[in-house]
Symmetry: D2
Subunit: 349 residues, 4 copies
């Protein structure tokens, strides 16, 4: 490391998650300013990130450079962030690792162990031996569940935003054996529009979203596989329904669970608190107080609250996070901090 | 009726539902312009509805008069709409009926037969004989379920907005005996802010609502009783979670049901269509197409769609309506049309 | 006319203004349901307007047919509405008129008499004799200014939305000779996003618009020419700055004028009222009460209010309208009503 | 200073600006966590700021203490921030200064030198000798204009949000003698709702603001006095029209000026850049690029851009800032940094 600070690079800084990531890395105390890399080149392509995001206007400048492995090596890059579409990550990650770089990939390319869960993505290299080998090395980057393995990882697959909100709410209950899986788990999840990406489409047009609200991808959203794998659930147990909120960012999941045996709210709260002891970025709300989108907006927190019916068995969990921070760029920074033994707060507080 | 047209009056036109109702009645082909009545008087009180709602500015004028039974009789009023808080409706309805008026009450005052369901409202006259007698006469004003009784009714209790969206989605399935009540029914419902009324509160402040989304009243929303009564469900079967959407109006309910036996989407669609045959204001969407808030906004429709899991038993229903129209004023006009034998479209198309 | 009702057709019903126009025509008492025409054909193209706008879902169906002049003649069409891009209108109008149809064109194609004002549009047929001849016949469809000529017109050029809001606010003062043009006129105008059309672009993406507000096209917006021509102003007199509001629809123009001589608010109000006497769709607000976007939203009104400084010469006018109604489809219906001698309210009240 | 860090206190942390200020002070490298003080006491009053703002939920706690001068002295407070209504600041500031505290007051209480400009506030102590003496000591806290005096100040009157946006855009042109004051200056300004404060009113109700836009306080907004004093303009020169935007935060002012002599865009840009050389928190955009609300949102920047007409004399300036940061709490932190000789970035970058 030059000057004792780490040199990183970001591919895909021109997207919503890429911008957030860049801003975090820029203020991170143990990092040099990240190199900003884009895959395409040419006259149409922006040459500075401030052209894309006016909020970055001004003095310094945030030059975008074309992707070149030799250049990145020459510039001393040790770790690469990919905030790219999953097909792109699928092809870039093997190259980056062959160059000896550690990688944190924000896409879904390397999150899923079971082939049936990767099916919705239709990866072209699905049957290759090398992809299978890489998949073995990839660590699912949810710090609250896998911190030990993330520390050693060369390739971290940063979790999906919806998946993070659902897994973190359910993991303590599943681990405690409290969930009556026979009765099914329902996650009714709602996301702001930045979750749909920056591509202008009929669906993301302001007039389509404002004054509106809609469900989509019922029974076939791609994040379901992540949730099932991480919680080790059968596919038939989980019903996951995503919805599009008329807000720029934020996710709230309302999760319905039946417990195997009656519990008291205070015991449930204790179970949650105990599971997340020492976790910097999860907050448990005292029942019946519930988090809302604004609780965690522009922060890296995942906020979790719950209400129990009088029978002590019908449970409603509410889980909130900022899809661009704890749901993407913030969690990527957490993984970075784990990989280099830094404080969980570095760059995030 | 003067000039062959009916004279109606509206108490509470200064609220959101009251305004919508007034606008419907003003363009209704079989009505004289409604008299606009307010309970309070004094110098602070608006004298014209256009002072409250600038959209009514202009030529005509919409004078507000103080409530006086003799005046209403003198002006030839035959039917009274109440768009008032439930405690107010609870005290005004007996007086109005004693005056021989037919009443359509948009509040919750006379919707609930079972005393336990009225408990959350804490009506002061709960134990009176006269209230019990009136309650016997009240008809729950959901035209799709009770049209025959509404035609004859002297007192119609117009349904709640959330309740309408949930009952209409579930009624055909419950009637067909398809719902596995043992596994529970979940309605994850979302409403625009006008559903919370016009009173300025910390909760309805623009800065609290915009860029936000939140669940509230988990396990204890007042509309639950209506749903249980109309669908004849045990309280433990239904979990109803309302949420506040950052939009002015519209309700979307995502409803989760397990069916007793596997069905095909086309058969389920046929069940829904058959149940609502001849119903002017319910639209069934062909699966897997789902309605969204914008589908029914500014219309009197309740739009219903669904997705079935591959097992043919896990069912997600989506039901949408405009809380101020099908969820309040529009449905009140439907009830009016039934009571006088007019077309279901009158004033609404 | 079949059954005594007029058969019209709409090209471009799949756009925002086209939808509003279609809904107006469908409820218009003197019209048959309009034929809905699209220029393109093929398997990708929607076959029913309900596919494009779910709010139209249900019973009837709104079939879209390909453009064919013989078919339109056979179907008895007498008047054609064009809600198409201006280049398309520029080529379709001559054809339609050659077929003997009357035309109301919602685009800018035939609004501008002076060639310098047409320059920003770069019409390909700019130099043709036939275009010049047609331009001579076109009537600028602002009913408050040109009702007599609109009645006889074969081709009505429906005004721009911004232009309508500015012209209607200023016309009475200009006519009264009150405006000190030496000191300049400033219109600071703000529009909802539907004014930018339905095409998804980076600029209309929800995340770009929400929580944002921006000026654009300073000193070079295309509507300036309309305002100058209609008010007979020198180009250097008017500064027009459009802005993009984070709302789906509505325009508010704040207009700054210095008067040649001091006036009293009541006299100014009288001037405005007198100018618009008998005009069904302009409302003058009593100063200092000002209209706001919600005043005229979902109505065909242009609402005008003002504040005068104590010196009686510095004047701030505020003018509001719904860009899809008085700013487009509603005004088109007004023009239709004039052309056939119907009430100004037909289809609009 | 304990541990070499400064102890500050904030009165009014429960308001919008107070919250932002608290968050800045908490991360400020040279400060101890600020003491959070409220004037009222009792059982209704929140005891922790996290009760008011769920975004602060969690570990630490942000206790609110009642106002007591001896307690503040005992706790080592040296500087007091007041984020209170102006009448409150008017009475607290003399007490605080008598205690030897330095004060940064975010209200309008001490901003205005000329009595006529204070008139709209109707201060009760207007005629007192002590208030006049204090007013002499107060420094208007706009760092770009008054940094030298702020450094020495015991009482800083933090500028209004609208005033900051207008003064910063105009000051370089006024100083350069470019503005043709005879022709008038117009500032058409637009603000998000947090500028109207946290009090729930009919005007800040979500349903009143969403899908709406409105002008208010035409010719009589209280911030006009600040602009006139700072720019030394005659009252008749400036027309200032504030508007309410349907967004939570952000201000954009569109400012219209006629120049005394024609200038080139590059010269004007040079004039602006030169004026703000060394100013950390003003950004000049290269014409014709304009800032928008999102440019400066959640930052402490005031962003300024402009367009010149071809004649080089008609000028449109656009100035943007976050009303809670550069328009309030951020600017307060800048003043703090000046008063203690710290970097302009401390707590803000």
């Amino acid at each position: 490391m030059k000057s004792g600070k780490l040199q990183t690079a970001v591919v895909g800084a021109t997207g919503y998650a890429g911008l957030e990531l860049t801003r975090i890395l820029l203020r991170h105390p143990y990092l040099l300013p990240p190199l900003l890399v884009q895959r395409s080149a040419g006259s149409e392509v922006p040459r500075d990130l401030a052209e894309v995001f006016p909020v970055l206007s001004g003095n310094g400048g945030y030059p975008l450079q074309s992707l070149s492995w030799p250049a990145l090596k020459r510039q001393g890059v040790e770790l690469l962030f990919l905030a790219t579409p999953h097909e792109v990550s699928r092809s870039l990650v093997p190259e980056a690792m062959a160059e000896g770089l550690r990688v944190i990939d924000l896409s879904a390319a390397w999150r899923l162990r079971r082939q049936e869960h990767r099916a919705p993505y239709r990866f072209e290299d699905e049957d290759s031996v090398s992809a299978a080998a890489l998949m073995e090395k990839a660590v699912y980057g949810l710090p609250e569940l896998h911190s030990r393995r993330i520390r050693e990882a060369r390739l971290v697959a940063n979790p999906g935003c919806y998946a993070t909100s659902v897994i973190l709410a359910l993991a303590p209950l599943v681990e405690a054996g409290l969930v009556d899986e026979q009765r099914g788990i329902i996650s009714d999840s709602k996301s702001g529009v930045s979750g749909a990406g920056k591509e202008p489409t009929a669906r993301t047009h302001f007039v389509s979203v404002a004054d509106n609200f809609s469900a989509y991808a019922v029974f076939n959203h791609r994040h379901v596989g992540e949730i099932l794998e991480q919680l080790q659930l059968e596919a038939s147990v989980l019903t996951f329904t995503p919805h599009l909120l008329p807000i720029p960012r934020g996710i709230l999941s309302t999760i319905y669970v039946y417990l195997k045996r009656p519990v008291e709210p205070r015991d449930l709260e204790a179970t949650l608190r105990s599971f997340y002891e020492g976790c910097r970025w999860v907050r448990i709300f005292p029942s019946p107080k519930l988090p809302q989108i604004q609780s965690s907006l522009h922060t890296n927190y995942c906020d979790i609250g719950f209400c129990l019916a009088e029978d002590g068995r019908r449970l409603v969990l509410v889980s909130c996070l900022d899809n661009l921070l704890k749901g993407a760029a913030g969690q990527a920074a957490e993984n970075l901090n784990l990989m280099y033994g830094w404080s969980a707060e570095a760059g995030l507080a």
